[in-house]
Amino acid sequence: MMQMTGADLIVKLLERQGTSTIAGVPGGAALPMYDALSKSETIHHVLCRHEQGAGFIAQGMARVSGRPEVCLASSGPGATNLVTAIADAKLDSIPIIALTGQVPLSMIGTDAFQEVDTYGMTIPITKHNFLVRSAKELLEVIPAAFRIAMSDRPGPVLVDVPKDVQNQMVSFEAYPDVVVPDAAPKFDIAAVEEAAKMIEAAERPVLYLGGGVIHSGAAAMAVTLAEQASLPTTMTLMALGAMPMDHPLAIGMLGMHGARYTNYVLEEADLLICVGARFDDRAIGKTAEFCPNAKIIHIDIDRSELHKVKDAHVAIAGDVGQVLAELLPRVKPQLRKRWLSHVESLKGRFPLAMPGIEDPRSPYGLIHAVANCLDDNAIITSDVGQHQMWVAQAYPFRRARQWLNSGGLGTMGFGFPAAIGAALAAPERTVVCFSGDGSLKMNIQEMATAAQENVNVKIILMNNQSLGLVHQQQNLFYGKRIMASRYERPTDFLKIAEGFGMRAVDLDPSPNPRATLAEALHTPGPCLIHATIDPNEFVYPMVPPGAANSEMIG
């Protein structure tokens, strides 16, 4: 018979589940859990400067490891500060466990100090959530949280634990088993055979890969499918790296900032094979005009995604890795000479223009200069905005889980804490965070965390002293009326970084920015690399919001 407090039980269960790092911020209602953590010999707690940073650090770890990672916060403002990071994880299907302290059970509903309805607040932004009402429940709830977060379509799970439950003694015979993901749903082999026939019969098929391919660990199989059936392959923002960008069948990212030829190829497709993607509006533009001539095969583990936006001719609800494993032996190898040469000619006529690629002081040039200093082992994260789109277009991603970004929620402030998380999960890798001056300021306090943990994170700050993508849209679609998208007063980011104890390097005054950049990237430890860019550089091409993908400008 074992006996311990709820808080000690939580920590023991996390340890048993393999958690070795927790990102968090303590507070009154979480103190018993922190006291329990002080006794743990295996869990390293990363003290963040803001709970949102903790949420994104957990996300960064989870996006690299592929397993659920944990963040911890107190009640009230601690929990509300976590909300953005949890919602972000929901939209990108990232397995995180958010543990929050709560006021004691008897005080719930009394507007107690630092009380907020964390459970009610997080219903729509979690895959599932729990309010634990007795310490004994933890024996079921903690393993269930891990199981739910990593099974089927992954997602965030929140566990809200009142302070008295954390302090309550619980006796039990044995620890619950360590949980593993549930078996993926069974799918219909007849549908797989039908899909194979459609692929064989198609003349102008396109493979469309989404983040599900990464989550399922199916990137290699997706590439094999493309090669076997001669499928030009486009990737969503979430899937970049699933197929190397320089693969002869890769046709780049589709959608709002995809290359012209990519969207034109999709326009001509007679079959679209959608694997682990969800027809997001930024990817497909105006729904009715997306792939107007194509039949659709849709493979996704989440049944509610099938037929949600576009009706599929063949829909298969299953783990994309398992479905591809069944599909591959059924797809006859063929070489589609005519279609591939047509795709090649579209690519030649409407390539992605990357002006300034030779100049490291321009956006594309800086991205290429960074890529030239690194190999495929590096992890690239980004914040949200122009720099994110430039990196998505231009960085030569070549492996799954190389690229971490906030796709669905588009959260400015994601990139830097996610990079810290990535570096904690993979300390042997260099982690580069592309950011903008708008985004970086949204979680800049985590510079202190990066310095404390001495993580190998390099921030490439593209500073245009504006909210670039807003500025761009006001220029293009709001009669050049620039409203609230320019920062009037410059910020001295170098001083800020140094103030937090991070090294800072400025490319602007450097006579040889490539050399300065290489030196900074190759020196271990956290570093801010600052580069001023022109605020009138826009991301092109661009599909105007609400328009069809064929109506790109620029």
Binding site: Y119, G120, I123, P124, K127, H128, L131, R303, S304, H307
Partner: protein
């Protein structure tokens, strides 16, 4: 209730989406029984402005689970809605019944 069927729905619910039809459907949900389950389910419908005309919920058996009966209007989005409901961790099953299922009919006298 039968009277409501005769009039356009929009007279009763000013912001009813155009996709809403006039035939009623009864949904039967088997769910885990704990505080918060109703909230999970109602949130899904509310977020999508999918009007729920009637709700009944009682525990079944030993009280481990509950059964929820929902009366909704047939809607193009109903199948998608059901798939979203099925995805909830606390929902064990969803069954669809015709709108004249007696479970709500017998309640008429309490709503006079």
């Amino acid at each position: 209730m039968s009277e409501q069927n005769a009039k356009p729905l929009s007279e009763f619910i000013p912001d009813v989406p155009e996709t809403t039809g006039f035939n009623k459907v009864v949904l039967e949900l088997g769910v885990a029984n704990h505080p918060g389950v109703m909230s999970h389910i109602c949130n899904l419908f509310a977020r999508r402005a999918f009007n729920v005309e009637g709700i009944l919920c009682m525990p079944v058996g030993s009280g481990e689970t509950s059964r929820i009966w929902l009366l909704v209007f047939e809607d193009q989005r109903l199948e998608k809605m059901i798939r979203q409901v099925e995805k909830l961790e606390d929902v064990r099953y969803v069954e669809r019944h015709a709108g004249d299922h007696p479970v709500f009919g017998r309640l008429d006298e309490f709503f006079q």
